[in-house]
């Protein structure tokens, strides 16, 4: 970490948090060119890295700073019998290529069978690799997750993965900054996932494009680290490459003692720097939005982009209420989902419930679901998959006896991976079926060809699993 540089930089004029971290990582800034931005940590996985390794071979280059790169297999791995050879040939080859490439280029790999394996955005934080003030990238758009720690973290394409391999730097334009404040207290049954689905429904799937978003306000400050990760994770669903939250005592407490977190004198030094990481009171954002936590209900999406969301008790907006030019696409989305204008989703039968993904597969998510379903049974018409975010989450769930609660409820606790979030492995939702999902994207075919996805919080997913229908979880909480 460039903490000395960071401290020096931060004595200058008032800056936003993004500007402080960015400026501390600029190797070179020249008018007319993008900045050369130094990358502290590079996370890689099997799907978006092989072509980048090939590129290095073609150029005859090594990985410049292999010790700053961490690899795992997550997107394309099975979530049952992970220790057996992968059945599907192409998937097996891709995962094997990662192993081979990491060995050849000297990169640490937490592959299948390793106790640290898991979804790349789950393992970074839980291992103490993700830290405040860092610049972090990964060939995955949900890299914004790591912003929850007050880091600049964003998704990149494979050419850029190769660039970071070769130089530990990226050519990047400094992004515009947006502050989204959420103030107040969340209602019962409303969680971080509902906050972010609410924000996206208000500003659209493109509303954050070109910005890095800083989330602030009393409702954000009250959230746990895992809940903050859920918020930052979905920044990309409104087009923002990065989303971050200023680190505070909750952040420091979460990090302390983790596998790769600084310790001893290093910890004190790091902490002193981290405490300078906030937006100055008079710092200027390019855009500022404010929301009230009290206005947020449990959310659900009804369409085919994450901006098409509503409070679970609301009716689907009519096609006529959409701008003229957008009506064709809007109608196409409702047709795909099999939904009507002005209708309610409450009581609609569901076929699958998926609890997992880099958005909601952490131990708190599993605990929340387990607490709700304890002593209850899943509905007969529903298949329920719980896919933990990492081997460590899986182990923790077992240590806490959550596995037995899930088993008794008829839920399948599987092994870690991206799974049905993107349906790249065999965990696909069949055509035409409805899946209530804690993942991050409801695009057409995202969970399998012609599958229909409804994005919700873990608690709303758990309610659907138990009733077999779309349910306002608040009504079940009152009963209890």
């Amino acid at each position: 970490m460039n903490s000395l540089r960071g401290l020096q930089n931060n004595y200058k004029m008032s800056k936003t948090l993004v500007e402080k971290i960015w400026d501390a990582h600029v190797v070179k800034s020249e008018t007319g060119f993008p900045d050369i931005l130094y990358i502290d940590t590079h996370l890689i996985h099997e799907v978006t890295s092989p072509q980048a390794f090939d590129g290095l071979r073609k150029r005859g280059l090594p990985v410049f700073r292999p010790q700053q790169t961490v690899a795992t297999a997550d997107h394309n791995v099975p979530t049952i019998d992970q220790l057996l050879p992968i059945k599907e040939e192409l998937s097996r080859y891709q995962v094997d290529m990662l192993t081979k490439n990491c060995a050849e280029f000297g990169i640490e790999l937490y592959g299948l069978g390793h106790p640290f394996q898991g979804i790349v955005h789950v393992i970074g934080p839980e291992l103490g690799i993700t830290l405040p003030g860092k610049t972090m990238v990964c060939g995955d758009s949900h890299t914004s997750t790591h912003g929850a720690f007050g880091a600049i973290a964003f998704g990149i394409g494979t050419s850029q993965v190769e660039q970071v391999f070769a130089t530990q730097c990226l050519l990047q334009q400094k992004p515009k900054t947006m502050k989204i404040e959420v103030n107040g207290t969340l209602g019962k049954g409303v969680s971080a996932k509902d906050i972010i689905l609410y924000i996206i429904s208000k500003i659209s799937a493109a509303g954050g494009t070109g910005y890095f978003i800083e989330y602030a306000g009393s409702a954000i400050e009250a959230l746990s680290m895992e809940a903050r990760m859920t918020i930052c994770n979905m920044s990309i669903e409104m087009g923002a490459r990065g989303g971050l939250i200023a680190p505070d005592q909750i952040t420091f407490d979460y990090i302390k003692g983790r596998e790769f977190a600084p310790a001893g004198a290093e910890w004190d030094k790091a902490l002193a720097y981290w405490k300078t990481l906030y937006s100055d009171a008079d710092a200027k954002f390019d855009s500022v939005l404010t929301f009230k936590a009290e206005d947020i209900a449990p959310m659900i999406t009804y369409g085919t982009n994450p901006g098409m969301g509503m409070g679970i008790q609301e009716n689907i907006p009519s096609t006529e209420s959409q701008p003229d030019k957008e009506q064709l696409s809007y109608q196409k989305a409702l047709d795909y989902m099999g939904f009507e204008d002005d209708s309610s989703l409450i009581g609609k039968p569901v076929d699958y419930v998926f609890i997992g993904s880099c958005t909601n597969s952490r131990i708190e998510d599993l605990r929340e679901v387990a607490e709700f379903v304890k002593g209850k049974q899943k509905a007969e018409n529903v298949t329920v998959w719980i896919v933990p975010g990492s081997k460590q989450v899986e182990q923790q769930a077992k240590n806490e006896g959550l596995d037995r609660i899930f088993e008794q409820a008829g839920f399948q606790l599987r092994e870690p991976g991206c799974s049905a979030c993107l349906g790249m492995n065999e965990d696909k939702i069949p055509a035409g079926k409805y899946c209530v999902s804690t993942s991050n994207r409801n695009f057409e075919g995202r969970q399998g060809p012609d599958a229909r996805t409804l994005l919700v919080s873990p608690l709303t997913a758990a309610a659907a699993a138990v009733t077999g229908r779309i349910t306002d979880v608040r009504e079940m909480l009152t009963e209890a």
């Binding site: 190797v27 060939g139 758009s141 050419s159 130089t167 493109a206 990309i236 490459r241 696409s329």
Partner: protein, 194 residues
């Protein structure tokens, strides 16, 4: 990297908004470990039924339309960072994508591969659709040096923005790695100050 200077071509109009990268290339086709061959599965689930039969109504399956320019609605390329989306579009024979708005990561990926993303106004996008509905072989003249795109039939012309550095990369066919590698000493100096 592939060079780009000027292109005169008919277009393929895809009048849909928020086309995400899962539509451009579904995840189940991301298992290849090379950059080639993704064009075969470009817009897979819009082009083919589940039983692999062709959906004749989809514009890419309509022989009336052809060309190296794909024109689509706003927020094109949203979602996943998969560069496979840019590779698939290029592999299917396109050199230019025109939209009224692009998602950031897609735009960067396209530029890093010599696929030119051109952002035009909603009005100019409508003018392109109007031109192609009158004449399915209507051509656009894309001139990167002068940053203009012209509807040949009507003479309507729009200018577009592109970062000067990225423009020179496209015209000269060099990429970001070439650019940074030539300044590696600066990175090593930066690392010393910790």
């Amino acid at each position: 990297m592939r060079k780009f200077e000027r292109l005169l071509s008919a277009i393929v109009p895809l009048n849909i908004e928020n086309i995400d990268t899962d539509q451009i290339i579904p995840a189940r086709f991301l298992k290849a470990t090379t950059r080639e061959g993704f064009g075969e599965n470009l817009f897979r689930d819009w082009r083919y039924n589940g039983d692999h039969t062709i959906k004749p109504d989809f514009v890419l399956n309509d022989p009336a339309y052809s060309g190296q320019i794909l024109v689509a609605g706003k927020n094109f390329g949203c979602g996943s960072s998969r560069e496979h989306a840019a590779w698939a579009i290029q592999d299917a024979g396109f050199d230019v994508v025109i939209s009224s708005f692009f998602a950031d990561i897609f735009k960067g990926n396209a530029l890093n591969n010599g696929l030119l993303p051109i952002q035009v106004t909603e009005d100019f996008l409508s003018a392109i659709y109007a031109a192609v509905s009158k004449n399915n072989k209507a051509q656009l003249d894309v001139d990167l040096e002068n940053q203009t795109v012209t509807i040949v039939d009507s003479g309507e012309k729009a200018t577009f923005e592109i970062n000067a550095y990225k423009k020179s990369c496209l015209i000269n066919g060099y990429d970001d790695i070439d650019f940074i590698l030539n300044q590696k000493h600066l990175i090593e100096e930066f690392e010393q100050v910790k």
